[in-house]
Symmetry: D2
Subunit: 156 residues, 4 copies
């Protein structure tokens, strides 16, 4: 990813935050966007006992959720203002147990196309000040042009 990416919509930050705020599932998990730039998005989730799998680690589904959102919103930053974002597919490799104080997913765009964007995310666990990579995702994200990202019932 080039450092010189420019977001076509100068107001992309508020557009991403508004979309994220509409994701009720993020509120339930307690996740938030902790960094955002043209083609990049970081999402952080503090560890919680009610998000774990049978071994006491954060569930792979929680890891996937964070990585999916980091990829999707990284892609969304490069879409025009009238586009909606949709995940086509993703693949997640789990590399280490998701345990620690927090989970951080960092997404970045590999290739932005008009319709399809290829994005990747690395998910790390913060433990005692260090960051341990726990998963990596490779995803395909779609732009739906002329389709507001807000659900129909909330459009003015």
């Amino acid at each position: 990813m080039s450092a010189s990416r420019v977001a076509p919509d100068p107001d992309y930050e508020s557009r991403v935050h508004a979309s994220f705020a509409r994701q009720n599932f993020m509120t339930l998990l307690g996740a938030s966007i902790t960094a955002l730039g043209p083609g990049t998005c970081e999402i952080t989730l503090p560890f919680r006992r009610d998000l774990t799998q049978q071994h006491g680690f954060l569930h792979a589904g929680v890891v996937a959720t964070l990585a999916d959102n980091a990829c999707g919103y990284a892609a969304f930053t490069l879409m025009p203002a009238d586009a909606s974002v949709l995940t086509v597919e993703f693949k997640l490799n789990l590399m280490a147990p998701a345990e620690g104080e927090a989970l951080i997913a960092r997404g970045r765009v590999r290739r932005a196309g008009r319709t399809l964007t290829v994005a990747e995310a690395e998910v790390s666990a913060r433990r005692d000040g260090a960051e341990i990579p726990v998963a990596v995702m490779l995803a395909t994200v779609m732009a739906l042009h002329g389709s507001s990202d807000a659900p129909k019932e909330t459009r003015g």
Copy 2:
């Protein structure tokens, strides 16, 4: 998958249910195992507004969570009693919006190996009595032999 699969552990059902019950995240989501056989596992989740993404559909992470568990526990039914189950990786294709009264993930084993198992899951949405396929997963699951599936702190 052959209809003649035999689970090496005759007590596989209680082993799977006990592992599932230890997944706090399943309790949070409100998901439950609704069918189980040698090499197959079905998980059902009633729709809930707090599990949605920005368009009001169930979040892709929720879909992934259900499919991951359906694949993992389908694989787990064919593992010996002293093995623990671990997701290596999965790939999920989203085919339609996850909206309806409930989400049903049906996992089945494609190839069970001693260490690695290939499993797949189809996720459907129940709407007005019909079932609409919304996603499909292809996953690699690992057996950790001689490793109890319970977390350390709860082992007797």
Copy 3:
């Protein structure tokens, strides 16, 4: 996949065979289409020593090539006459060594959309009359509408 799929282009068979014939790589490998229907495609490759990897089995890249084509052409059968077919991405799980007299890839469409199609393929090895599953693919295929499938230099 429903048995009642109807190809929008009644002439889909000749369109698929013409596209396949333009794939020089298929000629090099010695692969051919051995079955075709609306939403399905079977490709067969006789074993050859010059297609092997370091252990003497058919190379994973050969397996991927066959599966990719089986998925792509299964999708292509359901596209209109003026569309071109393109692989967006695929994931391949290798389940057993690709050894035997021939490799058979059977692709089928899981969900056909206007732009994106989800397809899957199973690849089997024929050994002594039996068929052993060696790999499974899950793929995303794209239709480029209003774009002939023939390369520019051969268009009339």
Copy 4:
């Protein structure tokens, strides 16, 4: 990937080259290893007309073959001398047409485990002196310990 990776087998280079040389399929394609280090592998393939798909670009199967080998041999560099390498699965995103004078696949290890290694590869096309990324792969590779990488018939 850290720059400080150390290959456990100091003779890893000759081991990788010997394995690659046993891959008849590489000879058929005309591919060669053009760079190698602990945890990294680069493979280059000059464009050839008999490796193309229907639009005249290099076939997605050729791209997958190169990326698979780049991932597999990147992983192999970090395995002990008595281990054999095997691809478990891979996922490939195609980002641009594979056209140009040559295709270059650069693989690197993301996480090396005793049994499973996660590796990724970027495939680029060289056109008029520039390099255009055309595909990205995320793969799982397995080490078979105590299993020579040479086929049985050539072992002394």
